[in-house]
């Protein structure tokens, strides 16, 4: 049996979450979770739809600090002239997610917590039965590496790359109260448990503390629309000339490289990126090509700094 609930306050949502004791899933836009349900990868009985909680859908900019409600649709971010003025890298990232129609439903919070993906996991039940199940499903072996311990599903959040490059923070609420932490700290280097948030927690706000002096963003994918990322790089340079370069889509977690621009070299940047990315052959694009594209994109970013 499946049940749908639509609480109109965070308090009600949390109390439902406690009542259902792990047998539930939160819905933000629901554009990704619905597919997991159809593919029988998400089997919890209760859906708690956060759509009716009005406080979670808001955009405000004060003193160049951006506050975003987690349920803000990506399309609203793209259309905000103020966000475009101060945080164009975020607009660019939002524009690169899915399709124009999906972006009207998909939310920024949902995109930040989008589940890690792998070509051997994100498939129909029949496909998985045919090929053989994996560590993340009900199997005991990784279909990509043949290993028995680690899952290498990729984090594919485009907005996470941009928001980490912007040093953004998030507000989280559970029954114990409210906490704030940098976005980069919630992700774990594991394909199965890819963030450290407990089941019940609700992401409510995203705060972006500065408007960068320079920015750069690029996403690699098969088509110019719809596809999840094969490699996303978002980079910013702040007023103190600190470069923050975030790579996503090539490892279990977003990879951040943060260094003053005067000590950073292209060679060290590429070396750090290649060392930290645990890239395996679990995407439609070939592994060798994706690895090479890390160098290509970082070189493009590097050249853009001095223009």
């Amino acid at each position: 049996m499946e049940y749908y609930h639509s609480p109109d306050s965070i308090k009600d949502a949390l109390s439902m979450a406690r009542e259902f004791d792990g047998n539930f899933i939160y819905f933000a836009g629901g554009t990704d979770v619905q597919i997991y349900r159809k593919q029988k990868l998400e089997k919890n009985e209760h859906i708690i739809d956060l759509k009716s909680i009005h406080d979670l859908n808001s955009i405000s900019i004060k003193d160049e600090v951006l506050s975003l409600g987690a349920m803000t649709p990506l399309d609203d971010i793209i259309k905000s002239k103020e966000i475009l003025k101060f945080f164009p890298v975020l607009v660019e990232a939002a524009k690169s997610v899915a399709t124009p129609v999906i972006r009207k439903t998909a939310t920024i919070g949902g995109n930040l917590l989008v589940r890690n993906r792998c070509t051997f996991y994100n498939q129909s039940q029949e496909w998985r039965n045919g090929v053989g199940s994996c560590l993340r499903d009900v199997g005991d072996i990784c279909q990509v590496t043949g290993g028995k311990n680690d899952c290498f599903s990729r984090n594919v959040s485009d907005t996470a790359a941009a928001l980490i490059a912007l040093n953004a923070e998030i507000t989280l609420i559970n029954s114990n109260g409210m906490t704030q932490k940098p976005i980069k700290d919630i992700y774990l280097p594991c394909g199965i448990k890819f963030h450290d948030l407990d089941n019940e927690i609700i992401l409510t706000q995203i705060r972006v503390p500065f408007s960068p002096k320079k920015w750069w963003y690029k996403k690699l994918r098969m088509r110019k629309t719809l596809d999840f990322t094969s490699l996303t790089i978002a980079a910013t340079i702040d007023n103190q000339d600190i470069a923050r370069i975030c790579l996503n889509g090539v490892s279990m977690t977003p990879i951040l490289i943060e260094e003053p621009i005067e000590t950073l070299t292209l060679e060290s940047l590429i070396k750090q990126a290649r060392k930290n990315c645990k890239t395996v052959d679990n995407d439609l694009m070939p592994l060798k090509y994706r690895r090479e594209m890390i160098n290509v994109y970082l070189e493009e970013f590097w050249n853009s700094i001095y223009i």
């Binding site: 349900r37 593919q39 859906i47 739809d49 124009p100 129609v101 999906i102 439903t105 629309t225």
Partner: protein, 155 residues
């Protein structure tokens, strides 16, 4: 099963639905509104696009219970009697369809886009329809049709 009241194409009616049901299945299987097409059923092709409070959404990803209290508009509610909407008229005129399976989704995507962006360029029209897959026409004629509709809407 839950009893819900839905407003579809201006008509309000009560219907029994499953908790997990999508509005696409409710429209097609319970209300017999089969103009909205079921194709990929996973948000990839755009065939099931409908309007919810004027905004395009994918029927296959939208829970029916999320549609309660909203105005749903499907392809059946677009034309007035036998007079086609401009977008439909130009799709016919420009031969922007062959099998016609993707056409309801194209129409339901193009109409709100043109209402919001009456001066859209060809590239913007292309991008707006980038989530609608067509296996017959190769897209050029669809883009032509929407571009011509935009031109006539402006005049």
């Amino acid at each position: 099963m839950e009893k819900v009241t839905l407003t579809v194409n201006g008509f309000t009616q009560s219907v029994l639905v499953e908790s997990h049901e999508t509005i696409l299945d409710t429209l097609r299987n319970r209300l017999n509104l089969t103009g909205t097409k079921k194709c990929c059923d996973e948000g990839t092709c755009g065939s099931c696009t409908i309007l919810m409070d004027g905004k395009p959404v994918l029927g296959c990803l939208t829970p029916t219970l999320r549609c309660v209290g909203k105005e749903i508009l499907t392809i059946e509610g677009i034309s007035s009697g036998e007079s086609l909407h401009l977008v439909q008229k130009h799709l016919v005129k420009s031969l922007g369809l062959q099998c016609g399976f993707c056409t309801p989704g194209v129409v339901m995507t193009a109409i709100p886009f043109l209402e919001e962006n009456p001066h859209a360029s060809r590239n913007e029209i292309k991008e707006s329809l980038s989530g609608n897959l067509c296996r017959c026409t190769g897209y050029k004629k669809i883009i032509d049709a929407v571009e011509n509709a935009a031109e006539e809407m402006r005049s």
